[in-house]
């Protein structure tokens, strides 16, 4: 009797309601996603700093050591380059690692394994070895963490072919996207936010997966398309609410993944509104918002009644001072101003 290990395709047919009263935190949604997949597939394990005995630096993995034991919930020393590379070797061998970076800021010292090995392995081996691995952790400004600890890596890392990148904005999507990421045969960079881990929302009991490359259409409107991913999605929702009071209706898209990028939904919305504002938590130069704008110009230029406008973090290192950090980040008022500009132009 032999049973081989196989990864099923995620079942996207079940799409339980986003509304309900099973309210849990973002971090719990992440934990549920990992635990459910670990129960089903023994090849899946979690590795990172403080994930086991400390119960997670941000309590994402709380209780997982107790359930799965220290052979599958593995504390590492502070050696991002070493343990990221080690997990890549394990993924090549046939395991399905989840690597937690306490912060994506710390992944920079692991740039060689995560950028030079994981996304390129399938190509440079001529299709012999892929790298089914999930790297996940906090991305973006936490709260006065200063320049080195506030990285938004989406611009830098999404540049590399061979990887996929998911950036959820709420517990429901976080769970469904992370479950899909774990089943995916490619390296997935999964960007969370320290500022959202305590956010609460309905997460259904029923199992579900969310496909990559499909934006969530959050709000209907015909005056301006407003798109974002990750934490600034919330600022977009606030801005849309305020603008609605003035009779400006925004069509709001939460992109959920940036690679793949659901440009089709963006263009479809643009055809309705003819105006677009892109909100991006990372720097503007060569970033995700620049990519979205480029694709809009390539695929939707004729539908634009006003040049696309982007709202990024300011183009400076992240400052420490509370008021400077607030001035640095995208926020509701910057988005409202941007939308007013494109609808009046």
């Amino acid at each position: 009797m032999t049973t081989t290990f196989a990864t099923p395709k995620p079942d996207f047919s079940r799409t339980p309601s986003r509304n309900g009263d099973r309210v849990i935190q973002f971090r719990e949604a992440l934990r549920e996603a990992m635990s459910e997949e670990m129960r089903k597939d023994e090849r899946v394990f979690l590795m990172g700093e403080e994930v086991a005995y400390y119960n997670g630096a941000y309590k994402v993995s709380q209780g997982m050591l107790e359930e799965f034991g220290d052979k599958r919930i593995i504390d590492t020393p502070i050696s991002e380059s070493g343990f990221a590379g080690m997990a890549i070797g394990a993924a090549m061998y046939g395991l399905r690692p989840i690597v937690e970076f306490m912060s994506w800021s710390f992944s920079l010292v692991a740039a060689d394994p995560i950028l030079n090995n994981a996304p390129k392995m399938l190509y440079m081996s001529g299709g012999q070895w892929g790298c089914p691995i999930v790297f996940r952790g906090n991305d973006g400004a936490g709260g006065q963490l200063g320049s080195t600890h506030s990285w938004c890596v989406e611009a830098l890392f999404s540049n590399v072919p061979g990887l996929k990148m998911a950036i959820p904005s709420n517990p429901y999507d976080a769970k469904g996207l992370l479950k899909t990421a774990i089943l995916d045969d490619d390296p997935v960079f999964f960007l969370e936010s320290e500022r959202m881990l305590g956010d609460k929302g309905h997460v259904p009991e029923e199992e579900y997966y969310i496909p990559f490359g499909q934006a969530h259409h959050m709000r209907e409107g015909s005056d301006c398309t407003l798109i974002s991913w990750g934490r600034p999605v919330h600022f977009c929702a606030e801005a849309a609410e305020e603008l609605s009071g003035d009779g400006i209706e925004c069509d709001v898209l939460d992109m959920r993944t940036v690679r793949p990028l659901d440009i089709d939904s963006v263009i479809a919305s643009l055809k309705k509104t003819n105006r677009i504002v892109i909100v991006d938590q990372s720097w503007p130069f060569g970033g995700v918002s620049s990519e979205v704008m480029a694709q809009i110009c390539e695929k939707g230029f004729d539908w634009l009644d006003h040049p696309p406008v982007r709202v990024n973090t300011e183009d400076v290192p992240t400052p420490y001072s509370k008021n400077l950090e607030q001035a640095y980040l995208p926020n509701k008022s910057k988005i409202v101003a941007a939308v007013r500009k494109v609808v009046s132009g």
Binding site: K71, P77, G85, G89, G127
Partner: protein, 369 residues
């Protein structure tokens, strides 16, 4: 005491090997050398591009270490990787065709000289960035141990077994942070990876004494991480095997890491573009006098008396023909078709909108699979 020496020699692991086995090892080493001579010629004719690092002089290391492990033990190496690929059993045609950038190459022409991958032979790549393979090696060993300890069966459903992973590195990689992180992790997690330093004395043109502390006591680097070590002469394949094989067996059984400093020498430059101003001809000649192929041939001809001069010459001729056939195969193979190969093998699970350029696809089946 000649008698004692003789009886001791009989007890060594290599002494217990058959004449046929050792003759095969000699052939494996000759194959690497002949292959590399043809590689150099092809490079000089601009048939091979990019960076190209020649293994001549170090043949005993790849052959002696790979013969000490099982066929399904994973190995990973750096960019001077043709020797390991051949010693592991890669078809010389696929190896040469890869360097020619042909569709029949082991990576379909997408990898090149520094990226020899062979899944059926458990070779997890040549890797181009110095030291980058060392965390991967720890990971292969971690996974192999996980398979045995957690899954309790092999990934293909078979019986679980204790494995070791071999991770080769040059002495230049001793100074990369990745190795030190990897050794600490291997020590902490007790992963059965064996770091094999192919110590040829130079990282490019910098001699080991100029770039590495404690150059004559490299084992201290391993001691810092609680890893057991050996220092072995890598010019004689039998001597290497005699010291390496028992070490592998212990580490496999006890599932923990090891470190081996194997003193060897590359006769050629660092890469094909190296004028070798940093060393003397006399130094090169000193090592050539202890050449691994010559000394094994001498052992088989004069001590075991199982190989004649004529048989050795016939072996060399046969290997030359095999290598010429590999070159011919590479020459005559088709180039990869950009229409199917440029945008394939980027994603195992390609999906729309991953790139603004075009959709990715599944590529042609790899010739080794």
């Amino acid at each position: 005491m000649p008698t004692a020496t003789k009886s001791a020699a009989k007890d060594t692991p290599s002494a217990k090997l058959s004449d046929a086995t050792l003759t095969q090892w000699l052939r494996d080493m000759v194959l690497i050398r002949e292959f590399e001579l043809r590689t150099m010629a092809a490079y000089q004719q601009a048939k091979i591009g990019g960076f190209c690092h020649i293994y001549i002089g170090q043949e005993a290391v790849a052959v002696g270490t790979i013969q000490a492990i099982n066929k399904d033990d994973p190995i990973v190496t750096a960019y001077r990787d043709h020797g390991h690929a051949l010693a592991r059993g890669m078809d010389p045609g696929a190896c040469m065709a890869e360097m020619y950038g042909k569709a029949t190459g082991c990576a379909k022409g997408k990898g090149g000289s520094m990226h020899m991958f062979d899944k059926p032979n458990w070779l997890f790549g040549g890797h181009g960035i110095v030291g980058a393979q060392t965390p991967l090696g720890a990971g292969l060993a971690f996974a192999a141990r996980y398979e045995w300890e957690v899954l309790k069966k092999s990934l293909d459903g078979g019986k679980a077994k204790k494995k070791v992973a071999l991770c080769y590195l040059g002495d230049g990689a001793l100074n990369q942070g990745a190795l030190h992180e990897a050794m600490n992790l291997a020590g902490i997690l007790s992963t059965p990876v064996i770091y094999i330093v192919e110590n040829n004395g130079y990282s490019m043109g910098t001699s080991i004494e100029r770039g590495t502390t404690m150059a004559d006591k490299l084992y201290k680097k391993a001691e810092a991480y609680g890893i057991e070590h050996r220092t072995i002469d890598g010019m004689s394949v039998t001597q290497l095997y005699d010291e390496f094989k028992p070490f592998v067996d212990i580490l496999r059984d006890e599932q923990r890491p090891g470190f081996v400093d194997i003193k060897t020498y590359r006769y050629q430059g660092h890469s094909m573009s190296d004028p070798q101003k940093y060393r003397t001809k006399e130094e090169v000649e000193q090592f050539k006098e202890r050449d691994g192929i010559s000394s094994l041939a001498h052992h088989l001809m004069n001590e075991r008396e199982c190989l004649s001069e004529d048989e050795f010459k016939a072996m060399q001729k046969e290997v030359r023909e095999e290598v010429m056939a590999a070159v011919k195969f590479a020459e005559e193979s088709p180039e990869p078709d950009p229409a199917t190969e440029l945008y394939s093998d980027v994603y195992a699970n390609p999906q729309p909108n991953l790139s603004p350029m075009r959709d990715y696809t599944q590529g042609q089946k790899n010739p080794l699979l």
